[in-house]
């Protein structure tokens, strides 16, 4: 692989969007999870409740997608609120 190819691949890797995923947890209260979504992402009450119900019923919800740095920041905030959150490559 030449230098130009390596640089291009690095740029592609940096551009890959990341998903922030919140996973179900039998302990966290639904009202608490809703409050956290509203605070961290600025969701409306309705949107926060939709994601909370998706977590509860399907076991996980993708709550945000975008650049890696911001995804890390969101996961850190969610961990600060003690939600079970991970980040994963969107593709």
């Amino acid at each position: 692989m030449n230098e130009t190819q390596a640089e291009t691949q690095t740029e592609i890797a940096l551009d890959v969007p990341w998903n922030v995923v919140v996973h179900n947890d039998p302990v966290n209260l639904m009202s608490y999870v809703t409050m956290v979504f509203r605070r961290v992402f600025g969701f409306s009450k309705e949107k926060a409740e939709q994601h909370m119900m998706e977590v509860h019923q399907k076991g996980r919800s993708v709550v945000w997608s975008g650049g890696r740095e911001r995804a890390e920041l969101y996961v850190q905030q969610l961990h600060g609120y003690l939600l079970l959150a991970t980040m994963e490559r969107a593709i």
């Binding site: 039998p26 209260l29 003690l82 991970t86």
Partner: protein
Amino acid sequence: MNIERDAEGGFIFSDVEASLAAMFRAIPSAADPEGSKAALDRLFPDPAAGKEAGLSAEWADYVRPELREGFENASTTVEADLEPLNAGEDGWTIPRDHIDAWLNTLNQARLVLASRYEVDEADMNRTAPYPPESERTLAVSQIHVYGLLQECLLQNLE
């Protein structure tokens, strides 16, 4: 137990029954995950679920200490607020600007207890009585009581 709001939006708890007072006094110790790998793993989960080794390592070095400090600060705030209860009074006050610390510490305590005693969804929804006098029964009761207090704080925040 009586619950009132003060003029600044804080909460005043009074006439707390002895059994409940004992549970509330135990919040800071219940929130301490030390000695339980399951509890530590739950309070400090891997952000990449084991799929990004570099990210997990950086997280452990740089983010985890910050998270730990935040959790400990919240727990220290709660411990200080509980001082009247520890001194034998039948109540205590949660100032408005301590509510987030309380929500956080109550959540820490509930998650640590659930991890230590392997409490799952079935336990949380169980309606049949638990075996009396066991540590696990007490832990499940604590999780529910702390959840009720969290719910009370949350409902009154809106």
